[in-house]
Symmetry: C3
Subunit: 342 residues, 3 copies
């Protein structure tokens, strides 16, 4: 694609040779001749100065040196995303219909345009909405309902009676609807399984990463709201409720029956104990552990999680401890001199 | 089912219309007309007051208002579990025998009533006990021994020579017997793999959640005792020993060669470093990290884990630091005034 | 195997009956008659004194009692590894060629001696190097390149366009190339997916544990260097770079665009936030969270991670807090007495 055409498409101002043929996109530090790259943050100016890219998308106000042709745009990040899309060829989907190697129960219902990849298993009573893609080696259990326009990547498991909305994306190896972790315990500490007879219900426009686990409810539903984004290796226990548009970053765990409001953000490796209520818009810092209810809008951090300001004060206090100890020792010494004098 | 029949079955005292037809079970907050629900904790009284359930199971001493018919029982929790079981139809199992799409080595031995689901792989020398269910797409390696009455959910991997007891349940995506993480390291920091030639041995009545990893021993055995319950996304390293009836909650990790006594409880996201001895009945708090041996019966928490009472004292101490700093400053001021006076 | 032959092979000095027939290897505490075991650490002397092993490999300088025949060697650990290898029969590999149940696209290229196990899916454009083993039920995506001499255990997923070097080992359930966790967010907190158009590139001699997730780059590459060893349940986000010979222990998570130098060690359950630079040879303690750049060679620990010496000082300070509080109270009391006296 010619650089001048690209500048036109992006509505940007071209500085340099518009005849350059752009063959790919790359990060500013690793681009080769023929690539277009981008910088938006001034801290990358040193990389821009010595880039080998043929062209670079920059913010309108960009001033640092750069040996490449430039396209100036109002939002370099967004313009580069558009550019990357021009060069991106997504991999082919499984063919429409059922791959001959898949094992699909006669009593499963498939909407129009559904694609079932090789070596999938679709159990009886499953219902899969129009245009949904079930990639290779997935397992779709008994009476599972999946909406329209979803994409399940290879090796996803959706256990019996799970309900998934429209336009949901689920990455490889994720398990929806495994049994909740529930036992009764006798006086000798021996545990007996409590049947987990509920389901998992997932809203529309949800994306779930790889190797995630979401347990079915003891009874009723484990609920994932609309627009929720869940990263890899997250654990969501039975009877949890996650509000619309919440974000759960990698390796976070949410214990049984806790409920998260809408737009809650739980950063990476954070956790919440069971039966908690975390209000709308709460942000939980990375690696933090929520152990009691949190009011809407709070930003908490630490183990156990406290308001972010308190956490910072506590950390500062701890860092000053050796000095404080010395000050107390000095006071004691002067006090004991005083005692002798008086 | 008629409500009066249900009260009879539960041995409870009915208050209200016994002719009501109950069609399902649900939580007190989400029940619809035709549902039966339960409350046992007085904190749910406000939900009980406005429930839409047709009937509610309550403790004998329940006094709060409730618009629904009531069944009074000595143990509402247990009675509701029984009720839920009445309405629960578990999904159908794979048929007895081997699904035609499964790839089963001629030299595998299958007990009577074994069910092998679609697209499973069973390697030579595997031995699967009577009545065991291997669901779709599982991998059972060379010479694996699985006992009687087990249930493996879809996409479980059991690697070569693993031994699993009777009545063991393993959820989707779990890996039993991956190689331990063991290397020799040279002076340049380059690592060479140490063969992991041991196995994993799992006792009877164990349940293992989804996407768990349990590594095979370097030599000898990684051992999981009888009655152990392991939640999702747990990591158990090579040569670990877990005592009978221990409970390992989600996302916990136990490093190589550590041994846990019987009835140990490791709460969610906790961890133990390698070569430790954790005594019988120890409880490790959520997100805590055990870094040295722990005597039987202790309850530890924190990073590094300390006795729970110490942890609480430390947290209180940290919260008081700003005040303590002020008190020291006040003392210093008075001391310096004294110094001038004397 | 006769014990005298074994001593000869190990170049060790035999003490005891060389005619003993050794039939297996086991740990010192669990060995039975007919087994050979080893001890290298004096703390295991009590176990050596009452071992039931027929023979034990010991360091040359070993002095404690032991009822078994001994083989004295300079490096008991290494000698035992050699011995264990003598008795270890690795499980059979899939046959050379493509298992008839695998679904392999006509347009996939397989090197000489490649083994494709049962029920694998290999998509069009995939290229698999000579001698590589793809075990049962793996998914190899569109245009994936895998080098020579690799071993993928069952149920591994490698998503489209991933590149894997030579002699790479990947354990069960691991996902290479799932989408990075990237969204744009509007003023209402609603997120829109940013296409993740890059790839994952893995060097030579890498080993990756079970149920690991490594996300593809937003654009460009997520890079894993040569000789890197990654344990189970690790999360590596989009655009991360991991230097040669780094070691990432179980359940660690590395957030987007962070880069680790060569020979970095991240201990179990540790984490790093995004866009960080962690220098060569840095060691991050277990369960610690790196939140800012770390210079080469540092050893950091804690949450947030600080130099190990600081962490220890801080912990000691916290432990002394109750005593410090008492000392301040005592000073206050004496000061108030002084105030009255003067």
């Amino acid at each position: 694609m010619k650089l001048s055409d690209m500048a036109l498409q992006l509505g940007g101002a071209l500085e340099g040779d518009g005849q350059i043929e752009i063959r790919g996109v790359a990060g500013i530090g690793e681009a080769k001749p023929g690539d277009i790259s981008f910088v938006s943050n001034p801290k990358y100016a040193p990389l821009a100065e010595k880039t080998r890219a043929s062209a670079v998308i920059v913010p309108e106000e960009w001033t640092s040196e750069c040996p490449a042709a430039l396209i100036r745009v109002p939002n370099a990040d967004e313009a580069f995303a558009k550019t990357a899309a021009l060069f991106y060829a997504p991999p082919p989907l499984p063919a429409v219909g059922v791959h001959p190697s898949a094992v699909v129960a006669a009593a499963a219902e498939l909407g129009s345009g559904v694609r079932i990849g090789p070596l999938c298993v679709i159990e009886a009573g499953a219902n899969i909405g129009g245009g949904t893609v079930i990639s290779a080696q997935c397992y779709i259990g008994h009476k599972v309902q999946i909406g329209e326009g979803c994409q399940l990547y290879p090796q996803v498991s959706v256990r019996e009676s799970g309900r998934i909305g429209d336009r949901v994306i689920i990455h490889n190896g994720t398990v929806i609807g495994s049994d909740g972790f529930g036992y009764s315990v006798d006086h000798d500490g021996v545990r007996t399984k409590i049947d987990q007879t509920g389901i998992v219900q997932i809203g529309d426009d949800v994306e779930i990463g790889a190797n995630v686990t979401i347990d079915r409810a003891r009874f009723g539903k484990t609920r994932i709201g609309n627009g929720v984004k869940i990263d890899n290796l997250v654990q969501i226990a039975h009877n949890v409720t996650i509000g619309d548009h919440a974000v759960i970053v990698a390796q976070t765990g949410i214990a049984g029956s806790s409920s998260l409001g809408s737009r809650v953000i739980m950063a990476g490796q954070s956790g919440a104990t069971g039966h908690l209520k975390i209000g709308d818009g709460v942000v939980v810092g990375a690696k933090s552990a929520v152990t009691k209810d949190i009011a809407a809008g709070e930003y908490v951090i630490g183990f156990p999680a406290v308001p972010a300001a308190t956490f910072k004060k506590n950390q500062a206090g701890i860092a000053l401890l050796p000095k404080l100890k010395k000050r107390v020792a000095a006071l004691e010494k002067r006090m004991s001199l005083l005692d002798k004098e008086l």
